[in-house]
Amino acid sequence: MSRATEPEAGRGAHAREERWTTRLGVIFAVAGSAVGLGNLVRFPGQVVANGGGAFMIPYFCAFALLGVPIAWVEWTLARYGGQQGRHSGVSVLGLIGGRAAGRHFGTLAVLIPLAIYMYYVLIETWCLRYAWAYVMGGVDLGQNVGGRVQRAEELFARTSGSDANGALLGAEAFAGLGCWVLVLALNLYLVHRGLSRGIEAFCRWALPLMALCALVVLARVLTLGTPDPTRPELSVIGGLGYLWNPDLSRLGDASVWLAAAGQIFFSLSVGFGIIINYASYLRRRDDVVLSALSACAINGVFEVSFGGLITVTAAFVFLGASGALGGTFALGFTSLPVVFTYLGAWERPIGAAWFSLLFLAAITSSLSMLQPAKAFFQEALGGSSRRAVLLLAALAAPGSFWVLYFSDGLIALDTLDFWIGTVAIFILAGFEVVCFGWILGVDRGLCEANEGARLKIPTVYRFIIKYVAPVYLGAVFIGFCLQSLPGYLRGLMSQPVACATLAVAALTFAALLFFTRRIERRWQAFEREGLDPSEAASRTSP
């Protein structure tokens, strides 16, 4: 292997642009990135807690006024940057948002998916272990009906290691640590294979397979009827009613609108730093408007059709209203395994299909979390995929091991989920909207978006993107901070593990900033040499 110096590595390399092979490929990849536990488990919980069917009014408002416009913004900014050979959040946002702001917000666009990946890969591991258990013979929750919930909770605690720190290195080491290594290696391998041969190829069969698994589970759930004739109220129709019967009085409650906006925001993966990278591999004439809308729509189908019909309905039929409530993990990993035990011969196939669905949803999401950092390191290191993936592994694996080790009460996981997976994405999405609407200019931005678009962005979105989305986003963020921030700050102060986890995230950010400066120096060198963007692109691209 030759040891070219950094600039030479760029000049001498047979640098080739990575591209998506097909339009459907990128849409499936983005939709796969967005579809996850949030759609299938978090969404029905939000519907039940926020007025049932009435929740869908603020939900669709948020979809139209926040989700879709921000998705258009991200796709457009990314393609704009990609045309200049820029694929990392740092260089795309630096191109539009100015060097200093772009540097820090761009680094945030790399940190967010990377830090989320550190805990998300563990959830992926849980899904794989549950799916494997069902394939190999089912999950034994005992014959005693009353004890099944407790045994399901114990099983989840064993799988996640939430009983004690280091639990996954003890008796569960082979399964816990082994699965983690396997999943981590699979993710890194697929990302190393590149966009079209790795992520796109995987998502093109994974997404239809996810839909198939979901349809199998949905068909079984909707044909459950009334399993216990002595309790006729616990029926499929009763479960659907529990979820969808609207409580219109809740529409006057600001927290419902806040919850709907939050759900749309997290569900569509806007502000995660993923689309800003994925869409940068589009070609100039690729239709970002239709592609973004299609990805949002596919995500919505999974959320409303499968999330809105499967989990809560199934849990209600067997466990009643109390079993149908609970957090994402409680509903997905505790209530549903109990529900599956009531299905007799269907327990294994339905359990396997459900957790395979969750695993596939998780893996398509986790791949999307690694690609932005890979592109970032490729820009910093001059295009080598192998070195970028090695560096990515060197950052992601220790961070993820930290979360795996400090598993007691899932504190490390929750800390990253709140501060990075929730607070930071609001900040990044806000910066992107400001970049598009105010720095690039909304008219120029819309012109850019409509380039090559069969479906033009309606003119009303000029106003929405410039004024409504930033205000809506700001209001949601402020409301969110007022509701959740004080509690989290108190928790942070009282939990050393949470503080240390934040320090790990800060260290990761500092390490990323070091590489950000390398990227800046490379681009400055190209500018000094007077290269046009296309020439510079050929020297920095992978």
Partner: protein, 59 residues
């Protein structure tokens, strides 16, 4: 399940499925994509092959 529940559920499902179907109709009826292998985004681009191609170092 009340009538309002049915209406909200059906309308939500119809909206999402309708939007998806419309998007796929537009995607499938739009002109065929250029062959990525032969397409170049603009002059100066080295290549836009679909597969990732390693650099000269074999990386």
């Amino acid at each position: 399940m009340t009538a309002a529940g049915w209406i909200f559920m059906s309308a939500s499902l119809a909206l999402m499925w309708g939007l998806s179907a419309w998007c796929f109709y537009l995607l499938s009826s739009s002109p065929a994509e250029d062959s990525p292998a032969g397409e170049s985004a603009r002059p100066g681009h080295t290549s836009s092959r679909p597969e990732q191609v390693e650099d000269i170092d074999g990386n």
